[in-house]
Structures are given as C-alpha cells and as structure tokens.
Amino acid sequence: MIRTPIREAAKLVFTRDLTLAWRRWDEVAQPLIFYVVVTTMFPLATTPDMSALREISGGVVWVAALLASLLALEALFRADVEDGTMEQWVLSGQPLGWLLLAKVAAHWVLTGLPLVVMSPIVGTGLGLPYDAWGVLMLSLLLGTGTLSVLGGIGAALTVGVRRGSVLLSLLVLPLAMPLLIFGARAVGMQMDGDSPAGPLQLLAAIFFMALSLGPIAMSAAIRISVEN
C-alpha cells in the first residue's frame, strides 16, 4: 500500500466536508439566511431613504457578514470531536494542521463564500453604489477568510468546553474588530472617491498572517481538546 500524500489527505477532508454539507444543506444555509434577513431589516427599521442608507451600507453589510460567519463557527469541530473522527486525524500520521486547514477551507467555501457572492445584492438593497461592489467583495473575501481561520482557532480551543459558544464569541469577536474596521473603511473610502488600497492591504496582511500561523495554533488546540 502507498502512503497518502498530504495534498491527497487534505483533499479527502475537504471533499468529505462538502459531501456532508450537501446532505445537511439546511444547517449550512443558516448563516446565509441570517445575513440576508438582517440586512433586509435595516431599511425597515431605520429609513427607506436611499441616500441615508448609502452612508451606512458598507458597515451594515460588514457587521451582518461578521455575525453570520460567527454563527456557523461553534459547530466547526464539534461533530468530529464527539464521534471520534478527530482522534483518528490526530493519529493519522498526517500533519494535523493541514487537515484542519482543509476543514476550515471547506467551512469557508460553505459559509464565507456565499456571503461574498451575495454581498452586491444585499448591498444594492441598501443603496450601495455599483462602483463599490468590487471593493466590498474583495474586502469580504479577505475578511471572511481570516475570520474562518481565527474562528477555527477559537472553535478548536472551546470544543472540549461545555457551553463553549459564549466563550467562542468572547475569544473571536475582539480579534475580528480590526477586520470590521478596515473592511468597512475600505468600502467607505471607495464610496468617497478615495483609494481603498491601504485598508485592503492591511486586510490582506492579516489574512496571510492568519493563514500561516492558524494551522499551528489550531492543531495545538485540538491536541489539548482531544485529551478529554
């Protein structure tokens, strides 16, 4: 028999999660529905005046996206830890960090990417101008990606804790604040006619830092969590 190369192993984890999500699509769709509903409620609760909404549209879309991604995080590793799959991953002889990163990537495709794709539509509903679509999508692309990794670390730390969801929000939300600030700022600057390059570059820098250090932190946290 041939040992599975790590690339193949990561692909197996990734496709497994997509297969599972396909069979449980109602759970996966929840963050997206939350996102659309929340952003739709804003004009109802504040004002239908498009010029007034336009001022806050970038921020509203960003806050909704942040909370929607957070919604799905708690369950990220729970099922795998509870049914013993995680033990087998730890013992598989494959680098655990890569397997977890593949899992987080699948999670992002299922919960983060739909938010990015949907954002021009919900943004338009809030009066977001067309020329800000690109910046909004790019900032959310980097932001939700970072959030999936940060959330992965938080979920890995809290998976062994009963009622870990409160703890998870407390852990992840402060770390997500820079994303929210730079993301919403980038959209705002684009709408004001300034170059959004600065905040976008900062978002990209945070994203790559999370991507490179995240797997190490996640695997260390999971090893502690399976000790129970």
Partner: protein, 210 residues
C-alpha cells in the same frame, strides 16, 4: 512477516486523571507476534493506559519505546505504525459505509474501491456498502470500525473493548483478525472484559489493579 522486529515497551508509566492517580508505575513490553490483553475492573485505567500509549493523554512520568526508540520526539513516525480502535467508532452517519472508509482510512493509505470492497467483505458488511452508516446496527458499525483499523495497515493495534456490541460471529471475527495480525508479525494490545483469545498461544496478560 510484514511487521518484523516490532517491539513496544512501556516503562513506569504514571498518569493522573484530574486528581486521581490512575496508572502507577505500569511497565510492560510486547513484541512482534504477541497479543497483550489488559484486564481489570471498571475504572481501573485500561482506557487511560491505551490513550496514553496513543499519545491522546499525557503521561506524567515514564517512557515509551517503539522499536527501541523513544516515542516522545518521534510521535509522527510512531503514529504511522499505530492503529487505534477506541470506544468511539469514528463514523459519520450521513456518509455511506464505503465513503466512511474512503474519507478516513484514505488519510493513511491510498485506497482503491476494490481494496475497500474487499475489506468490507472481510468484516461481513459488503451488502451494506452503499447505505448510510447511521442505518447500520451497533454491531455492524463496530465491524466498519474494524475495517478501518485493518486498512490502516499498522503494526501496532490498540483496541479498546474491541468486541463491544458484536455477536458470536463478530467476536470470532475479531479473534481471527488478531491472530492473523500477530502471525504476520504485528502486535495487538487490547482492553477487554469478555473472553477474548483466552487460550491462544500468543496471549499475554496485564492485570491492572486499583
């Protein structure tokens, strides 16, 4: 003899769970061709010992050696030769029997569908190959977990109550698999309450006392 020269040694392992000192100076060694059965009353630390061997629980003091080399510091290398069957079957109810093997056992070895089917046939659940694992009976799930263990192609088997939920034929199957494994030079370490290979020549016992 596929796993020649396999040798596992544990020296004076001490482990705590919370504030309970569960394992006190546990020492043993098993070599290629041997089956070590760990016995003792409930709560004596059989599972703890098995999890310490796997590295899923830390030992407070003590050393473990695999093929004469300390496991500490060579954990990844050791893991590639380790097959663990825990209390949990590590199955996904929403995946089919075949997919469960593909996605979990496939992490260790590249598997073709023929290999998977052959293994399902060996543990007697080939007819359930395309059903979701959640529809299997408890015994069939255990058989699926056994198939995963076999596909790991590991020299050292760590089995935690391997015959739980199995019928007479299933127990016979586990016994045959263990005998076959040790005859090929492998090592099996199992915690068991029930009769399991009690008269086999390869059997060695380790009695844990509270």
């Amino acid at each position: 003899m596929a796993f020649d020269g396999a040798l596992f040694e544990a020296r004076e392992i001490n482990a705590w769970r919370g504030d309970r000192h569960i394992l006190r100076d546990v020492s043993f060694s098993v070599r290629s061709g041997e089956f070590l059965k760990i016995t003792g009353p409930n709560g004596v630390g059989k599972t703890t010992l098995l999890r310490v061997i796997c590295g899923l629980l830390p030992a407070e003091t003590g050393d473990m050696l695999w093929r004469g080399k300390p496991v500490r510091g060579h954990r990844e290398e050791f893991n590639t030769e380790l097959g663990y069957l825990g209390h949990l079957n590590s199955l996904k109810g929403d995946l089919t029997t075949r997919e469960n093997l593909k996605f979990l056992a496939g992490l260790r070895q590249s598997l073709t569908s023929e290999v998977i089917d052959e293994m399902l046939d060996r543990v007697g659940i080939l007819s359930r190959a395309d059903l979701p694992a959640r529809s299997l009976s408890a015994g069939q799930k255990r058989r699926l977990a056994l198939a995963r263990l076999l596909l790991a192609d590991a020299a050292l088997w760590i089995l935690d109550e391997p015959v739980t939920n199995l019928d007479t034929a299933g127990i016979q199957l586990v016994e045959d698999l263990i005998v076959d494994h040790v005859q090929h030079g492998g090592i099996a370490i199992a915690a068991a309450h029930q009769r399991l290979l009690d008269d086999a020549p390869c059997l060695r016992r380790l009695e844990l006392e509270p």
